[in-house]
Symmetry: C2
Subunit: 215 residues, 2 copies
């Protein structure tokens, strides 16, 4: 698959780009916002393109055109200013979905947030605006007609991946290394049993391959 | 009609509640957030209920149950903090839509923002996060199955209403007194030709009744 990673300079995005670049069956295009980021990627032999999620849908359409899949992993969690939450986590995501539709790229993997589908779980969350943005971006994807998968990781850690996860529709809260989130996305990409589904994701005891088969 | 006004203490909301209260064919329920606001309305003989758009859908469902129509005119324009933009203008609106659906209240009038449907018109707007929130709330309403009308007023003025408006799908920007926005909402409530439609609204040369008939 030729995979466009939106948010390639993010913490999950960096792992994902490296893993896709190393993967035999995938080609990666890293979408980044700054010239310096693009150059750094190109210096490592990685195909990179410049585009801004605050720009137009047609710019994004140009980026994804010809790809087999889009992964949206932009955004910076619940701790940016809420204006950016609206403009990136919600509007940037929805524009990416629109761009994929227009470019006839049917496969779309969204990196969402733990329990984003379950409004009751974040009624009193300190990052509620962020959860609202992720919730509506996911809702839009679910209604898009695309072959989507929504990955909802728990608390993100920088520890090296352990390659063992637990995935399920509603899990008790837990943590997971970002490297394992990226590896799960890679596993999910061609797993048709994950189409039209979303799942919570934390560290667990199954190999990623086994866990993804059971989704 | 028994009409629930969500955002009854807002600047348009106050006009709307007064006009509905004075109207022969309508009963109004004013939803407000603070006890003092409720008391002030009740002292004027207006039926008021306490509820918070940051609360649960089931609380809102209780408020709208048995009504014939809901008008959403909460929010404070583009100048609140963007966290409130997400929680009120987007999430509060969508929870109100959900509550109306659950309570089988089919008529829903949304007070939106000028050109909210037209992404290109606010690509560089200083209140873009607000426009994004309104855009997605309107989108959700359009997909809700409710008998909706989306009213998108231009620059809001506190001048007394002149009773003359221009309404249309895409207008050049203009201003309009809040009192005339409220009067247009009252006119729209039972106008079935406005169901499943949205329109820009500014001051103009037609009476409100004539203009609404042509929507």
């Amino acid at each position: 698959m030729n995979v466009v990673v939106i948010g390639a300079n993010g913490q999950i995005g960096k792992h994902l780009v490296n893993q896709l670049q190393a993967h035999e069956q995938h080609e990666v295009t890293a979408m980044v916002r700054k010239e310096g980021q693009k150059k750094e990627l190109e210096d490592r032999g990685i195909h990179a393109v410049l585009a801004d999620l605050e720009g137009s849908i047609s710019d994004l359409e140009t980026v994804v055109k010809g790809a087999d899949a889009v992964v949206f992993t932009a955004g910076s969690g619940g701790h940016t200013g809420p204006d950016k939450t609206l403009l990136i986590d919600l509007d940037g995501a929805v524009k990416s979905i629109e761009a994929a539709k227009k470019a006839n790229v049917n496969r779309f993997v969204m990196v969402s947030a733990f329990q984003a589908h379950n409004r009751d779980s974040w009624a009193d969350s300190p990052i509620k605006p962020y959860m609202v943005a992720k919730h509506f971006a996911d809702d839009t994807l679910m209604q898009s007609g695309l072959d989507y998968t929504i990955v909802r990781p728990g608390g993100l850690q920088n520890e090296p991946g352990i390659g063992k996860i637990l995935a399920g529709e509603n899990l008790d809260r837990g943590n997971i290394p970002r490297e394992d989130v990226a590896a799960t996305i890679v596993e999910v990409l061609e797993a048709q049993n994950t189409y039209q589904k979303g799942f919570d994701l934390i560290a667990g005891e199954s190999t990623i391959s086994e866990a993804v088969k059971k989704i």
